[in-house]
């Protein structure tokens, strides 16, 4: 009897162990199931590179190039802001900060990671957006730049914590060797620690960027939601994620628009899958 009970429990454990694979597969399958239907009316090339997104006009124009460029622009801006600051902060926490400050700083970073994106979006709307508007004398502060700045804050906790881990796991002997040869602390960091931790830092940056591409609420609230090919970083844009979030509520289940939004979901899924697999390879290379 006990044998049977344990047998059942162990099978149940194995089943749950496989659950993650099952769910990833399910997500992909259901995206495909709903999303691929759009390609009966639009060919994949026109979908990816079509220059206009007018999903509810007659006939509907379903080109997601403006959305892809919107996502790219906002992500690029966020990367330019968050990578130097994030890696700099990681070096500071790992190497320079005294132990007590270090703990406080780490708690602060965790705090930032915990703030819900809708709260960051709200704060961006009431503080950053008016600021951008008045500094650049724009008709509206809802721009790609505002989105980039806010998203940079969402990428930073990821970048800082993973890069800090990478620096921490550089063998102590490397550092001691460099210092013993008469290098200053900074020379050691710059010439020894950073190169030794480079694959981990690269993974940190990639995961941070992955977070930015997938971010939805804050972006929808502060980038202005204009689904046109962006002309400058000071113009409103619309990202892939925001398009799904903003339009799915109105799309009729089973309509072309509904299928198209799922196809956008496929694009996002594939991007995040590629980023995560690559980052994982970098993280494992180190060990």
């Amino acid at each position: 009897m006990r044998k049977l009970k344990e047998f059942i429990i162990e099978k149940l454990i194995l089943l749950c162990g496989l659950a993650s694979i099952f769910f990833v597969a399910m997500i992909f399958l259901f995206l495909l199931k709903e999303g691929l239907a759009v390609f009966t009316t639009v060919n994949p090339f026109d979908f990816l590179f079509g220059k206009s997104w007018y999903p509810i006009s007659e006939p509907a124009q379903l080109g997601i190039l403006p959305l892809i460029l919107g996502s790219l622009l906002v992500t690029l801006g966020a990367a330019i802001i968050s990578i130097p600051i994030g890696v700099g902060c990681a070096v500071y926490i790992a190497e320079i900060a005294p132990p007590k400050t270090k703990e406080t700083l780490k708690a602060g970073i965790e705090l930032l990671a915990a703030i819900p994106s809708v709260v960051l979006g709200f704060i961006g709307m009431v503080t950053l957006v008016p600021l951008v508007k008045s500094i650049f004398h724009l008709p509206t502060g809802l721009t790609a730049l505002s989105g980039s700045i806010m998203l940079a804050f969402m990428a930073m906790p990821t970048i800082v914590s993973i890069a800090e881990d990478a620096l921490y796991s550089v063998p102590k002997t490397y550092k001691e060797g460099a210092l013993a040869l008469g290098a200053t602390h900074w020379q050691t960091i710059w010439r020894v620690m950073l190169p030794a931790a480079s694959s981990g830092i690269l993974a940190a940056v990639m995961l941070g960027i992955g977070r930015v591409i997938g971010e939805t609420m804050a972006v929808m609230m502060i980038t202005g939601n204009a689904a046109v090919i962006p002309q400058s970083i000071l113009a409103p844009v619309r990202t892939l994620t925001a398009t799904i979030a903003a339009e799915m509520g109105e799309a009729v289940v089973g309509s072309e628009h509904y299928f198209a939004l799922f196809a956008v979901g496929i694009v996002l899924f594939v991007i995040s899958f590629a980023i995560n697999v690559t980052a994982d390879l970098f993280l494992h290379k180190r060990q």
């Binding site: 429990i9 162990e10 990833v24 995206l31 994106s117 899958f273």
Partner: protein
């Protein structure tokens, strides 16, 4: 020749600036929300229905909706996540399958939240015909927090020393008895930390519930798990972008309640982790 010590000073200065550029805005965000949100918080705000198209009254149904959603998510995710963690820490061998499972977890953690929303819509709302309901949202959020629970629980299980297991096994206990009576009790604080972090994550997410639960304006409490519900993060989104002329106080108040809820959970998790580390006997 450059003076290396001066270079170091300059470099360290910039590293400090980078750190401050993160820490100061975070502090400001929290302070602004608390400062402007506090005046809105009173018993009526927390316990009353929204009135006048959400421009007045309270946020009670949104709070209740979020509690239902988060509870549902954890009921679904905790057993699966915990058993998956047990599999990874106690049963899995170092082989291809384990590698794929780990990769799947990493990917599950990286899937954009709005894609979870799409998935929930396609599977629970449309395919299973649950409609936009608490159960659809809870299941969607549950799958989303699964990686958090698996990763933290696994760390907790793996940190239980191997000798504990060996002693138990050598006394004739079976593998499952060892896990059930020796490994699990010692890992509980870690598992609890993971669970609470998962709860906090589920409470704050908006995108996954946009199309699976969310009721724009529903000034009553949900009657069953197949009912729609309001939720705090969605409510904040709605009153800050969809409804014109909402009193600023109401917005900040809602943001404060949501932020306080999420940060409170994180704080509890941090405290449990800290106490556990201090008490650790090995």
């Amino acid at each position: 020749m450059k003076n290396p010590y001066r270079t170091q000073k300059i470099a360290f200065f910039f590293l400090l600036v980078a750190t401050l550029l993160i820490v100061i805005p975070v502090g400001l965000i929290v302070v602004i929300i608390i400062q402007k949100g506090i005046p809105a918080i009173n018993w009526q705000f927390l316990s009353d229905m929204p009135r006048q198209g959400m421009r007045a009254g309270g946020i009670f149904p949104a709070i209740i909706g979020t509690i239902y959603l988060v509870t549902g998510a954890i009921i679904f995710a905790l057993p699966i996540g915990l058993l998956a963690a047990i599999y990874l820490s106690e049963y899995s061998k170092d082989n291809m399958l384990t590698r794929i499972i780990k990769l799947a977890i990493v990917n599950l953690a990286g899937v954009p939240s709005v894609v979870y929303g799409l998935f929930g819509l396609a599977l629970f709302v449309v395919f299973f015909k649950f409609g936009a309901s608490i159960i659809s949202g809870s299941l969607t959020l549950g799958i989303m927090i699964l990686p958090v629970i698996i990763t933290t629980s696994r760390e907790a299980l793996e940190s239980v020393p191997y000798s504990f297991r060996e002693v138990s096994l050598s006394l004739g206990a079976s593998k499952w008895q060892t896990i059930r009576h020796i490994v699990l009790p010692n890992a509980i604080p870690g598992i609890l930390t993971g669970t609470i972090l998962g709860l906090g994550r589920a409470a704050g997410e908006t995108a996954p519930i946009l199309f699976t639960v969310a009721a724009f304006y529903l000034p009553r409490l949900p009657e069953s798990i197949f009912d729609q519900a309001m939720a705090l993060p969605y409510h904040l989104y709605v009153i800050s972008t969809q409804v014109p002329n909402v009193d600023e106080k109401v917005r900040y108040g809602t943001a404060l309640v949501l932020l306080a809820l999420v940060l409170f959970m994180n704080l509890v998790a941090i405290i449990i982790r800290y106490k556990f580390r201090k008490k650790k006997k090995w």
